[in-house]
């Protein structure tokens, strides 16, 4: 079948790229992974598949490109509907999952990135505080949504697990930069335990980057960001 051709265009340090990969693993869908180098100029394939944002991940299903990680995850869930469900079946729970995933991407992730890209100690401290605040909030969300089960999605990894879990290795890198633990026994015990479960899950463990390798990349990325800022417009 022409449509059994599934490719993911990605980049190993990108947390967003992990999302469709984990989703495809959960659905037991085979795919070809194509690596894009984020620190160099963008490939023809990427520019052709995602002309609007020019970013990874891109899912290529047959000849159709689908962009934006969470949109891709929903697409995967809807197309391969015979596999385990990624989004909950109840509309209100689905809405909640979407709401918190949007919070993670629009509010929490910028703070995480803010620690990496901070130009001053003050800016760094402020960003760290925001990351911590977000995690405390998400600890509460976990309590409400998991209802005593191992994942945000219940017994199985779901949409919100994927949304947050994709940032876990970056979180370790940020902990290293901050010289402090951000997921702690004291404030985020459930999330700390969930993080171990998620990272060691069979659909996840083979695609998570190594923390040391990512930390090295983080240094290069920070330099790139600061250099771009220094260029007068």
């Amino acid at each position: 079948m022409a449509l059994s051709d599934v490719k993911v265009l990605g980049s190993w340090p990108s947390p967003f790229v992990l999302r469709p990969r984990i989703a495809l693993h959960l659905k037991s869908v085979n795919y070809e992974y194509i690596e894009e180098n984020l620190l160099e100029s963008k490939s023809e394939l990427l520019l052709k598949s995602n002309p609007v944002f020019k970013k990874v991940p891109v899912l290529l299903h047959g000849d159709k490109p689908i962009c934006e990680s969470l949109i891709i995850v929903q697409y995967i869930d809807e197309v391969w509907s015979s596999g385990p469900s990624i989004l909950p079946s109840d509309p209100y729970e689905r809405a909640n999952s979407r709401f918190w995933a949007a919070y993670i991407d629009e509010k929490w992730f910028p703070a995480l990135r803010g620690v990496l890209a901070a130009e001053s100690e003050d800016a760094k401290k402020a960003a760290i505080a925001q990351v911590e605040e977000g995690l405390v909030l998400l600890e509460e969300v976990f309590g409400k949504l998991s209802q005593g089960k191992p994942f945000f999605g219940g017994d199985q990894i779901g949409y919100l697990d994927i949304a947050l879990g994709s940032f876990l290795v970056w979180l370790k890198v940020i902990e290293k930069i901050s010289e402090m633990k951000l997921l702690t026994e004291a404030k985020t015990r459930c999330l700390l335990e969930w993080a171990h479960r998620f990272s060691s899950h069979v659909a996840v463990k083979d695609v998570m980057p190594e923390a040391d390798k990512l930390a090295e990349f983080g240094v290069k990325l920070r330099a790139k960001i600061l250099k771009a800022r220094a260029i007068p417009k």
């Binding site: 689908i66 949109i71 697409y75 809807e78 209100y92 689905r94 809405a95 949007a102």
Partner: protein
């Protein structure tokens, strides 16, 4: 029952109007509560403590925030007059363009509305580029959603904001000459009753924008 669904909104918020439009198109009865954003009600703060924003939908006492999340919820809960396409790829495309509108186009439009001089000029150029990209999606179709109004039209109807804000921002970024296809689409939209009922009143809106520009100017002195 109307009391089952409550919408906390604000007359000038395009996001709030978006949800109203979806409710009307799907024929869902609701109670509308106008919020004074400079003096938010205790109910709003209780139901939406994270963002403290409108629109906020409350269905059988359960709160829902973020307009795009609300639109999908409405479509999944009330199956009549579906607004999202059935096909997963079409759905992904609709969601993608909604994201483009909310994360690229609208912030640029806000920049145009709140700035002057060179900054505003730059903003207008960016907006033009983005509008051109979006306009492309309308080519050969009656509406963004195809033959009839759907999710992406509801999301994109915030373009009305430009249309009515117009000269009040000091510059009209959305002109018929530059964007004839978008204008044709707007003409079709305003023939639909539900859309007309959700229109932000033009003069009131222009006054609102002028006032906000003035307060921003005096704040920066």
């Amino acid at each position: 029952m109307a009391e089952e669904v409550k919408l906390f909104g604000m007359w000038a918020s395009p996001f709030s109007r978006r949800v109203e439009l979806a409710l009307k198109l799907k024929g869902i009865p609701y109670e509308y509560i106008e919020e004074d954003l400079s003096n938010k009600s205790p109910s709003l703060l209780k139901y939406n403590p994270i963002h403290k924003k409108v629109p906020l939908l409350v269905h059988k006492e359960k709160p829902l925030a973020e307009s795009l999340v609300i639109l999908e919820y409405l479509d999944e809960t009330w199956k009549n007059n579906p607004i999202l396409p059935q096909d997963p790829y079409e759905r992904a495309m609709a969601r993608f363009w909604a994201k483009f509108i909310d994360e690229k186009l609208l912030p640029t439009a806000a920049k145009v509305s709140h700035s002057t001089g060179k900054e505003q000029e730059q903003g207008v150029e960016e907006v033009h580029q983005q509008l051109k990209i979006l306009e492309n999606e309308l080519k050969g179709k009656e509406f963004f959603a195809g033959q009839s109004i759907g999710y992406l039209d509801i999301v994109a109807h915030v373009l009305f904001w430009f249309y009515s804000a117009g000269e009040a921002s000091g510059v009209n970024a959305l002109t018929t000459e530059k964007f004839p296809i978008i204008y044709e689409w707007i003409e079709k939209l305003i023939k639909i009753d539900a859309v007309n009922e959700c229109r932000i009143p033009k003069e009131k809106h222009q006054d609102f924008i002028r006032l906000r520009r003035e307060s921003l100017k005096s704040a920066s002195k």
